[in-house]
């Protein structure tokens, strides 16, 4: 027993000695979109940020499994910039004093709900529900709970307990605050609230499946999920595999860098 403790404690000491070597991250060199040329850019695998970054001249584009991993690498000076959606970028920057968002937006796009090709009945219902929620201000009210200075992070409350029309399975990637993230064992955020509101309209129960972002389209395509809602913007390649509703939120791709 004593031996085991000695072994473990020396292991801890050894790892502690390793950690924290080196500081002094290199200075920021990206101040505008043009500066991205030839730089190393971090993105999240499967996002439009990756697709856009791949078009930047001579840039070395690295695809991380999570946006947060790319941010971590940026903080440590392993990347020159990260291209990511504006809302998650704001959350990351608010939690990291050493990071900033460049004021030049990289691209503007709209988030939509993905559903299986050919399932026009569901598509029509979703579109109608989104139109109605846009019209009566529910979408704006939901967004206000999660974005901006007055955000209180209060989740949407079910208004309608009628679930006679069955279950709607939503595929998402809960690593994308404020649209979706983990809070304890629950997934919360704008997308979750919007889909809860949509399900209220449809008289369905929402069931959320958490998966890797690049698996969501495949999950919808193969019928493992009814809808994919994860801050997904419409691209031609994605439209080959799934159908999209109208946009429910406008967003930009922004460039995150270290502070000067």
């Amino acid at each position: 027993m004593k031996k085991t403790i000695a072994l473990l404690s020396s292991a801890l000491l050894a790892s502690a000695a390793f950690a924290g070597c080196g500081s002094g991250v290199k200075a920021n060199t990206v101040h505008s979109v043009d500066d991205l040329k030839g730089k190393s850019i971090g993105t999240q695998l499967g996002t439009t940020g990756y697709i856009f970054a791949a078009d930047v001249e001579d840039a070395k584009v690295e695809a991380y499994n999570k946006g947060a991993d790319a941010i971590q690498a940026l903080k440590q000076g392993k990347l020159d910039a990260v291209i990511i959606d504006s809302e998650p970028a704001k959350v990351f920057v608010s939690k990291n004093d050493d990071l900033q968002i460049l004021s030049d937006p990289f691209a503007v796009e709209e988030y939509s709900v993905a559903y299986k090709k050919g399932n026009d009945e569901l598509g029509k219902k979703l579109d109608d529900a989104i139109s109605k929620l846009k019209g009566d201000g529910t979408l704006d009210a939901i967004t206000a709970h999660w974005v901006g200075d007055d955000a209180d992070n209060v989740p949407y409350e079910d208004k309608n307990s009628d679930v006679s029309n069955g279950t709607l399975v939503m595929a998402t990637n809960a690593e994308f605050p404020p649209y979706e993230s983990m809070s304890g064992s629950n997934i919360v955020g704008i997308d979750v609230d919007i889909m809860n509101a949509v399900c209220d309209e449809l008289g369905m129960e929402l069931k959320i499946e958490n998966m890797q972002f690049d698996s969501i389209i495949a999950a919808v395509d193969s019928g493992k999920a009814d809808v994919g809602v994860a801050g997904i913007s419409v691209t031609p390649d994605r439209e080959k595999n799934v159908s999209f509703t109208q946009g429910y939120a406008t967003t930009t791709q922004v460039i995150v860098t270290r502070k000067d």
Binding site: A19, G46, I51, D69
Partner: protein
């Protein structure tokens, strides 16, 4: 059929997407090759230290360090080790990711190789040591000329197995955005949203590599068996 050809085109030909796989394969091979070298060197050194300590009681400090190494490496998943090396040990250093992969998988493999080789050394009858000593050889000579050659032959299948495991384990390298073979397939998958072709292609490439590796080892085993009597 046309639809399948279209998918084949989208997955591999369009925009030179097959390059994700060939470049990834190159990275996977480079990482595996150097990780195997580090793993074997480290493994043999640690095994000899541990076996010598068990047999003669020499090197108490080195033996203790070796034990710490084995406990830590075998007690934690390789993916966590990879992330620790990238984000903790080399924090705030812009280090070559292939090097991170080589170090992580090399150190990891070393621990397993060490135990395999040690079991090989311990499997050689003590009479062989005594025979060496009675011929006037010292411990080191007995170890290298009598014990190790026999031990190596005994553990060769297990070592080959370790190499195969290592080759396949490198597929977690994608977690630090290292573009290995698996990540190459993942990138194609994320561009086409078509899972079947890239995943099957990646699986086939791994399979071919493992089968080639196994057949090479079989040949080596046969070659070494020639010196066996009877």
């Amino acid at each position: 059929m046309n639809e399948f050809l279209q998918k084949l085109y989208d997955t591999f030909i369009y925009d030179d997407r097959w390059k994700y796989l060939t470049n990834g394969l190159k990275t996977t091979l480079v990482i595996t090759f150097f990780a195997v070298i580090i793993g074997m060197l480290l493994g043999f050194i640690v095994a000899i230290i541990r076996a010598t300590h068990d047999k003669t009681g020499k090197f108490p400090i080195l033996n203790f360090l070796a034990k710490v190494y084995l406990t830590v490496i075998r007690g934690t998943p390789v993916m966590v080790q990879l992330l620790i090396i990238y984000y903790v040990i080399f924090a705030s250093v812009d280090i070559n990711k292939v090097l991170v992969g080589v170090l992580a998988f090399g150190f990891n493999s070393g621990a397993y190789v060490a135990e395999i080789v040690r079991s090989g050394i311990m499997s050689i009858d003590n009479g062989q040591f005594e025979a060496g000593t009675s011929l006037g050889m010292n411990y080191t000579k007995t170890m290298f000329y009598i014990v190790m050659p026999q031990a190596f032959k005994n553990v060769l299948p297990a070592l080959a197995n370790e190499c195969i495991v290592l080759l396949k384990e490198t597929s977690v390298a994608g977690y630090i955005a290292l573009e290995d073979l698996t990540k190459g397939g993942d990138i194609i998958r994320s561009l086409t949203y078509e899972a079947f072709l890239p995943l099957i292609a990646v699986a086939l490439i791994y399979l071919v590599m493992v089968v080639t590796l196994s057949s090479l080892v079989t040949r080596l085993e046969r070659r070494l068996a020639k010196s066996d009597r009877g």
